[in-house]
């Protein structure tokens, strides 16, 4: 049984993330972790953009904030976001894959925490961050989803993920929304 969803994206992923958050049922009862590459100097604005459209509450967590179902947690700018069993753990360690937050680190920790009960989704993006993370989700028996490269604004990230992992689903943005709606 799926207990959490984690989504990684970079260039070109914002419209898809907005579509996903808008398309979730209001009573969606899983935590959703959003690890999206963003400008490190800009602390506000991004969260507000998501909040306007999202069907579920979106939070930018503080370190050690508890994880609750039905909330989307957006990795804060310039922090890595680890997913522990009950709480979020942030970090200012050096960049990984030129990124902080690094999608790989969030996915590694979420995979270890939720094992087979995790859905990992990689969206549009311009580098390979997230590919190793999605593989870790698959290694633990979780469900892996990649945005169809042909429907991605920038296909490097989905293609990198597909090179490393035989994923369960390659889906368009609309199909990702439908898939998530079937989870709960």
């Amino acid at each position: 049984m799926t207990r959490a969803v984690i989504i990684g994206g970079s260039a070109g992923s914002l419209p898809v993330v907005l579509k996903i958050l808008q398309g979730l049922p209001p009573r969606f009862n899983l935590p959703v972790f959003l690890c999206l590459h963003r400008l490190k100097q800009v602390r506000s604005g991004f969260l507000e953009t998501l909040l306007v459209r999202s069907a579920i509450p979106v939070q930018e967590p503080c370190d050690k904030d508890p994880i609750k179902p039905g909330i989307a947690y957006l990795a804060p700018a310039n922090y890595h976001m680890y997913i522990a069993p009950d709480y979020i753990n942030l970090s200012t360690e050096p960049v990984v894959n030129h990124s902080r937050p690094a999608i790989d680190l969030s996915f590694f920790s979420a995979a270890e925490t939720y094992e087979k009960d995790l859905v990992g989704i990689i969206l549009s993006g311009a580098n390979k961050d997230g590919a190793a993370g999605l593989k870790r989700v698959a290694d633990y028996g979780g469900i892996t989803v990649v945005q169809s490269p042909s429907e991605s604004e920038v296909s490097v990230m989905p293609e990198s993920a597909l090179k490393l992992t035989e994923v369960n689903h390659i889906l368009s943005p609309n199909q990702i929304v439908e898939f998530l709606n079937r989870l709960t």
Binding site: Q41, R43, P61, C62, D63, K64, P76, N78, Y79, Y82, I83, A84, N89, L90, S91, T92, E93, P94, V95, L105, F108, S109, E112, K116, R136, D139, Y140, G141
Partner: protein, 278 residues
């Protein structure tokens, strides 16, 4: 299901924690677990260790290697003037706070948990540009003797160099960086740090100043658990003078909760707190 061989089990962590404690190192059992695993995996990659048993074997009865291992576990801050709005606020607020203090005693600042010097150098530049540095006594402490020695020489970490110029300007810097940093030598100007007392310490309880006016501990609580947070907050409250100031990272809370028993916010967004009068 195929799980990576390098994954570190809870038992491995306990064994590593025992080894480090035996060598007078920090208590790893109270470190944030995913961060700790990530750092250990990094260390094993650098050392070409295939698995944790190899690492544990190498650490046994080898104090020098344990010290290197502890060094690697300490996460570097990678930027000068991280969080520009924190520094712009400080630039305005700190001189006013200082003026309100009804004495002309040296302003005592403690910066524990120094790893790379980036936060310390940023603070020294701000104090210099607000004409406060000359009347400050600063104590900088950290777990790693090697790192503290490097910081005391003014070595600027390579990871920070990329961000220095941009962050300095964003933080409201009023001079130009070559006034402070020599890119040829990779050193910060010695006048900024010449009066700082540097100490390595095994825990926060060693070598701490008495009656500090301000403690800088930004983005260090991220790496430890609630138990150590409580302990740390207590030590800071004991160390600060009446009306003393604590700053932590903008995504941290003293004591791991929003309503601290010991500190009340002066600027909650920037996580600047004053010691509560109890």
């Amino acid at each position: 299901m195929q799980v990576r061989q390098s994954d570190i089990s809870t038992n491995d962590l306990k064994q590593l924690a025992r080894l480090v404690r035996k060598a007078n190192g920090p208590d790893l059992l109270h470190y944030a677990p995913f961060f700790l695993k990530q750092r250990i995996e990094n260390f094993m990659r650098i050392q070409n260790f295939a698995g944790t048993s190899h690492l544990i074997g190498a650490l046994m009865n080898n104090q020098i290697f344990v010290d290197r291992f502890i060094d690697e576990l300490e996460p570097e801050s990678t930027e000068w003037f991280r969080d520009a709005s924190f520094w712009t606020f400080m630039r305005e607020w700190l001189p006013q706070y200082r003026l309100k203090q009804a004495n002309n005693n040296p302003f005592k600042i403690w910066m524990p948990g120094c790893v790379s010097g980036n936060e310390l150098y940023s603070l020294c530049i701000l104090l210099h540009e607000t004409n406060l540095l000359a009347n400050c006594t600063i104590t900088a402490t950290g777990l790693s003797e090697r790192r503290i020695e490097k910081i005391s020489r003014g070595v600027v970490s390579k990871l920070a160099i990329e961000s220095i110029e941009h962050n300095y300007i964003q933080s409201g810097g009023i001079r130009s960086l070559p006034d402070y940093y020599d890119s040829d030598t990779g050193l910060i100007s010695s006048h900024l740090i010449e009066n700082i007392a540097f100490y390595s310490q095994n825990s926060l309880l060693d070598t701490k100043p008495e009656n500090a006016d301000m403690i800088f501990y930004r983005n260090r609580l991220l790496y430890t658990d609630a138990y150590l947070h409580q302990l740390t907050a207590g030590i800071f409250a004991d160390t600060l003078t009446k009306g003393g100031i604590l700053t932590v990272g903008i995504k941290e809370w003293p004591e791991t909760r929003r309503n601290s028993r010991l500190f009340e916010p002066i600027n909650e967004d920037e996580r600047i707190f004053i010691k509560r009068i109890v």
